[in-house]
Subunit: 311 residues, 2 copies
């Protein structure tokens, strides 16, 4: 029941001696989603001891080198490691062509299927769904088409208390009704309340990844009740104009997004290489939204599983 984000790279376009270009890994119940893939992502996966074979889904926010140049090496390494399983890549429509051109130029023939899913960049869309999670794309605004991604666990049913089910000798056919919240009526007509038979469901955890974007307050409603928001903060607060021109955000803007959306925790990253010290940037954001962290490569953020309190 893990829901954990690992920061693989947190620099902006220019890497530093301590920060690799952007890449993150979300472990959602042992399904591993790689989010962006800057140069060196495969080395960071090695460094942080994440097994390559666990990754079958890669989400690419936009076609800039600091978010994509690691794809070539990673996909080649998958091949050297004998991968056979399909790899699904979600990203801008041009990504498929770019990968094709690259593999052709380098005469690379991967021994596993790469399925590129073009992401809708005009409106929000569910781009991935399985039994426990959905991934929503959120168009953002940068110098090239870009989208963020929101990972949300699906609602879960009530959990049956095994001992109680046995105690009342409840037939299997009744169980799904109880999981939906119904009381149970015994053959003798006695009502057993649902509360006695079930535990409340687990919480639906969520992570939103907003990178390389100008300040977009119009998207705040999409972030309501998000547990963890990563928002780029390339520049300090006073560089609002520079941020706007270059298609980026400031610390203050990221914090405003977090505050107005009411997220639980804010992560900042994608810092410009001009900042040798990040603590002043963090302080600016915390003045507006106290539960803010300036991420570093290797940081992990775990959202614990817990049961939703009954009303």
């Amino acid at each position: 029941m893990t829901f954990e984000l690992t920061i693989l790279g947190s620099s902006s376009a220019l890497p530093t001696s301590k920060r690799f270009p952007t890449a993150q890994l979300l472990n959602a119940n042992e399904r591993f989603f790689l989010i962006d893939c800057g140069e060196g992502t495969q080395m960071q996966l090695r460094r942080f001891k994440i097994r390559f074979g666990k990754i079958s889904h890669i989400f690419i926010s936009h076609i800039h080198g600091d978010h994509t140049f690691g794809l070539f090496g990673l996909l080649s390494s998958f091949s050297l490691l004998g991968r056979k399983n399909a790899l699904h890549v979600y990203g801008p429509p041009r990504l498929k062509e770019i990968l094709h051109i690259h593999f052709k130029a380098f005469d690379i023939h991967l021994p596993y299927p790469v399925i590129v899913h073009p992401v809708q960049f005009e409106r929000e869309d569910i781009v991935y769904e399985d039994k426990s999670i959905t991934v929503q794309s959120v168009p953002l605004k940068h110098r090239v088409p870009v989208c963020g991604f929101i990972f949300r666990e699906k609602p879960r049913p009530l959990n049956l208390i095994k001992e109680k089910i046995e105690q009342y000798n409840i037939p299997v056919r009744e169980l799904s009704k109880i999981q939906q919240g119904n009381d149970y009526v015994t053959e003798e007509g006695m009502i057993v309340s649902n509360k006695e038979l079930t535990l409340p469901p687990y919480n639906q955890r969520s992570y939103a990844y907003f990178t390389d974007t100008v300040y977009l307050p119009a998207k705040i409603s999409l972030l309501n009740n998000i547990d963890l928001l990563y928002h780029e903060a390339t520049f300090e607060a006073k560089e609002g104009e520079l941020a706007r021109i270059t298609g980026h955000s400031t610390t203050m803007q990221a914090a405003e997004m977090a505050k107005n959306a009411g997220v639980k925790k804010l992560l900042l990253g994608h810092f410009s290489a001009r900042y040798k010290e990040i603590s002043p940037l963090l302080k600016e954001a915390r003045n507006i939204f106290p539960d803010t962290v300036a991420v570093e490569d290797g940081d992990q953020f775990n959202i614990p599983v817990g049961r939703i309190p009954r009303k």
Copy 2:
């Protein structure tokens, strides 16, 4: 008068938690030659505190990802750092097209000229020359066209001893003759021996880079008197057949090359990721050629300057 090699990456195709893909930097008298450029080269340059602006010449041995995928990020970073100076890239004829295709796909417009010099892959050739150094390409044999490079300092003249020149009041027009080894005859007809007027010249230092190749004893004569030889040693000695099939060399073969050529020091690298411990591989090579080092990322090898002893 520095002649120093820095290992930026020493893995074979699969990077490990400690080794990045192949890249090296040769500082030859403050001219910096980047040799191959595997993924993450720019991060290693940052890590080992090498200023990007110092690099104007890049040598690429062959078009495999683990020797080239770092080019894209590095060239983009040069651009972000405001580079204006031309960058010279020496490599396989197809390299120019590959770079062109890449920049087009990513819509990258570099603000500095990139001059790609196609390297002759059929025979040895001087591919670079300036007043103090030559770079010779040496065709090797791998699964794709590949060449090694030999960096050699040019012969230097005798050094004039300033005090002696003044003492004998030698006119400027005579100096070049003395530098060529001639004695000086004073107006009075006295012969001043060249040995009294000059110091012997500095040694000509040399570095040979042999990567991704099967064992090629035919090339030994090219390595005579080389100070420092890097030779790939992807496999241990007993894997000779695997080495041959995959186009690589073993520890023993690398050591045989060093021994038979009479180089001064041998560096091994490009180890297969299958070897968790490199010391057994090193031992195999040292049995044949004692002055062998198994390189690690960040290692530096300095060849000191010294005067050639007079005969």
